[in-house]
C-alpha cells in the first residue's frame, strides 16, 4: 500500500462536476443586488416541467456531475422541489438548496429531509429587522431567522450567506456573533458581483476599500477566537485586488448552470454577453451542449486568450478572469478581465473604486428588483 496520506486532487477531467439548476426566477423578494436577469419576469411562462428537469438530472449525472445546487430565484416557489431533490438524491447527487428562507415552512423542511436534501444555504442580509426588510423590500427578517432556527433543529448542515455591500458591511461583527450563538458552522460573506441588478446599483452598493479591510480584520479576529467551530469564508472582491478571480474555474471547465427555460450556461451570468448562441436542453442533448456547443467551446481552455494574458504566467491560475465582467466593463467579452492591473482597461475598475471612496456625494435610492423597472429592449436585437 502506498504511504501517501492526502494526495487528494480534484480535476474535472472535462466533466461538469458542479451543476446549478435555476429552477425559477420567481421570488417574493426584491433585492437590489439580485443577479437574475433584468427581464426575469419573462421566464415564468417558459420554465421547464418536472419531467424536463428530471431528464436534465439524468443526463448531467451521465456526464459525471456530482454536486448539485437548487437555486433561483427562490427555488421553494416550485412545488415540485421535493420531488426533484428526491430524484437527484437517488441518482447519487449531493443535493444543496440555496434559499432566501421565505417559504421554508416546517412541512417543507420535513419533506425535504425525507427527500434526502443534504445541505441548505440560507441568505441573511443584516442583523436588524429594519435593515434586512428595507434591503430585500419585504418583511422578511423574522421569517429568515425562523428558517435558520428550523434548519438547525432539523440537523441540516447550513451555510449562512451574507451578501456584502456598503449598506451592511458594518454588521459583519454582529452577524458572526449571532451565528456563533446559533451554532452555525459555516458563514460566507459574499462580496457581491456587479452584474444585472447589482450593476445598476453599483455606485450605491460598492463598499470602500477601507470598509472591506476593516471587515476583513473583524473576520480574522473571529477566526482566531472560534477556531474550528466555524468556517468563515470572506473573499476580497476582485475590484480591489488588482487580480481577477479564476471565474468558475475556467469557462466550461467544471460548472454547468441550467436556466429556468432550460438554457445551458457556463455560469449564471453568461447571458449578459451578446453575440453568443444560447441553446436549451429542450432542443439539444445535454452532452452536446456541454462538450460540443459553440457557447461552451468559445472560452474553454487557454487557446482563445488575448494579450496581456497570453504572455502572462498567471494564466493557468485565473484563465484571464471573468468573461461577463470583461464584457460589461470593456464592451468585449474576449478581453482580459479589467479587474486585472495588467488590463489596458483597468482604469474603469479604478474609477468605480474611487467613486465608492469619495466622501461626500449625492446618494441615489437603490433600484429594487421588480418587473418592468428597466427596459431590456437594448439587449435584444
Amino acid at each position: 500500500m502506498p504511504k501517501d496520506s492526502n494526495g487528494l486532487t480534484l480535476d474535472g477531467q472535462g466533466k461538469p462536476l458542479w451543476l446549478s439548476l435555476e429552477l425559477t426566477y420567481r421570488c417574493p423578494l426584491k433585492c437590489s443586488w439580485c443577479n437574475n436577469p433584468l427581464d426575469f419576469d419573462d421566464y415564468a411562462a417558459r420554465e421547464l416541467s418536472t419531467e424536463e428537469w428530471k431528464r436534465v438530472l439524468r443526463e448531467s449525472r451521465e456526464l459525471g456531475a456530482l454536486q448539485l445546487g437548487f437555486t433561483g430565484g427562490e427555488p421553494l416557489q416550485r412545488t415540485d422541489l421535493e420531488e426533484l431533490v428526491s430524484y437527484a438524491n437517488e441518482l447519487g447527487f449531493y443535493t444543496n438548496l440555496i434559499t432566501s428562507g421565505i417559504g421554508l415552512t416546517e412541512e417543507r423542511l420535513v419533506a425535504l429531509k425525507a427527500a434526502g436534501l443534504k445541505q441548505i444555504q440560507l441568505s441573511l442580509q443584516a442583523t436588524e429587522a429594519a435593515v434586512t426588510d428595507a434591503l430585500v423590500g419585504a418583511t422578511a427578517h423574522e421569517r429568515k431567522l425562523d428558517a435558520a432556527r428550523r434548519i438547525k433543529a432539523h440537523g441540516f448542515p447550513m451555510v449562512l450567506n451574507m451578501p456584502v455591500f456598503r449598506q451592511n458591511i458594518g454588521m459583519t461583527d454582529a452577524m458572526i456573533a449571532w451565528a456563533a450563538e446559533l451554532g452555525i458552522e459555516y458563514i460566507e460573506f459574499a462580496n457581491i458581483q456587479y452584474y444585472n441588478w447589482a450593476l445598476m446599483n453599483r455606485d450605491e452598493l460598492m463598499p470602500t476599500l477601507d470598509q472591506v479591510r476593516e471587515a476583513e480584520q473583524v473576520v480574522q479576529r473571529w477566526r482566531d477566537k472560534l477556531g474550528k467551530k466555524m468556517t468563515i469564508y470572506f473573499v476580497i472582491p476582485d475590484y480591489y485586488e488588482g487580480r481577477p478571480k479564476a471565474c468558475m474555474n475556467g469557462w466550461g471547465a467544471i460548472h454547468l448552470t441550467i436556466a429556468p427555460d432550460g438554457v445551458a450556461m457556463p455560469c449564471q451570468e453568461a447571458r449578459v454577453i451578446p453575440g453568443l448562441e444560447f441553446e436549451s436542453v429542450r432542443d439539444k442533448p445535454l452532452a452536446w451542449l456541454w462538450h460540443e456547443s459553440p457557447l461552451f467551446r468559445k472560452y474553454r481552455g487557454l487557446d482563445w486568450l488575448p494579450e496581456p494574458c497570453v504572455s502572462c504566467d498567471e494564466k493557468e491560475k485565473d484563465f484571464g478572469g471573468c468573461r461577463c465582467q470583461a464584457f460589461l466593463l470593456t464592451g468585449d467579452a474576449s478581453n482580459t478581465d479589467p479587474a486585472c492591473g495588467r488590463s489596458p482597461h483597468h482604469a474603469r475598475v479604478r474609477e468605480a473604486v474611487d467613486t465608492a471612496a469619495r466622501p461626500l456625494r449625492f446618494r441615489k435610492p437603490l433600484f429594487k428588483r421588480a418587473a418592468g423597472t428597466v427596459t431590456t429592449a437594448f439587449l435584444e436585437d
Binding site: M1, P2, K3, D4, S5, N6, G7, L8, T9, L10, K15, L17, G64, L66, Q67, G92, Y94, N96, K118, Q119, G155, P157, V159, Y186, K228
Partner: protein, 101 residues
C-alpha cells in the same frame, strides 16, 4: 484531555455531513460534503471504507496489512497519519472509546 483518534481502541467514523462512496465516472472513491467534493486516492479510499464506527483503529490496520503488500510498519504509520489528517480536516470523528456491545 482529548484522546487522539489514532488511539488503538477508537472506532473512527465519517462525520455526519459527509457522504463517502464509489463513483464510477471517476473510477475512485469520493467524499461529498457541503460546498465540496474530493476524489480520494486508492489508499485513502481503502482506509475510509473501514471508518464505519465498527472497526477499531487496530482492526482496520490489521485488515489493511493483510490485504495489501508492503512492510507492516509502513502501513501502520501510513494509516495513522491519514487518520490524523482526515480528523483534522473534519472528515472523521473519533468515535466512542467504549467497546462495541
Amino acid at each position: 484531555m482529548t484522546i487522539p483518534l489514532t488511539a488503538t481502541d477508537r472506532r473512527p467514523q465519517l462525520s455526519p455531513h459527509f457522504m463517502f462512496r464509489w463513483e464510477a465516472s471517476q473510477d475512485a472513491y469520493i467524499l461529498l460534503y457541503p460546498e465540496g467534493l474530493i476524489k480520494l486516492n486508492p489508499s485513502a479510499g481503502e482506509i475510509l471504507k473501514r471508518c464505519d464506527g465498527q472497526h477499531t483503529v487496530a482492526e482496520l490496520i490489521a485488515e489493511l496489512q493483510a490485504a495489501f503488500p508492503g512492510p507492516a510498519d509502513d502501513i501502520d504509520q501510513g494509516v495513522r497519519a491519514f487518520l490524523d489528517v482526515a480528523t483534522d480536516k473534519g472528515w472523521l470523528h473519533a468515535g466512542e472509546l467504549v467497546k462495541k456491545s
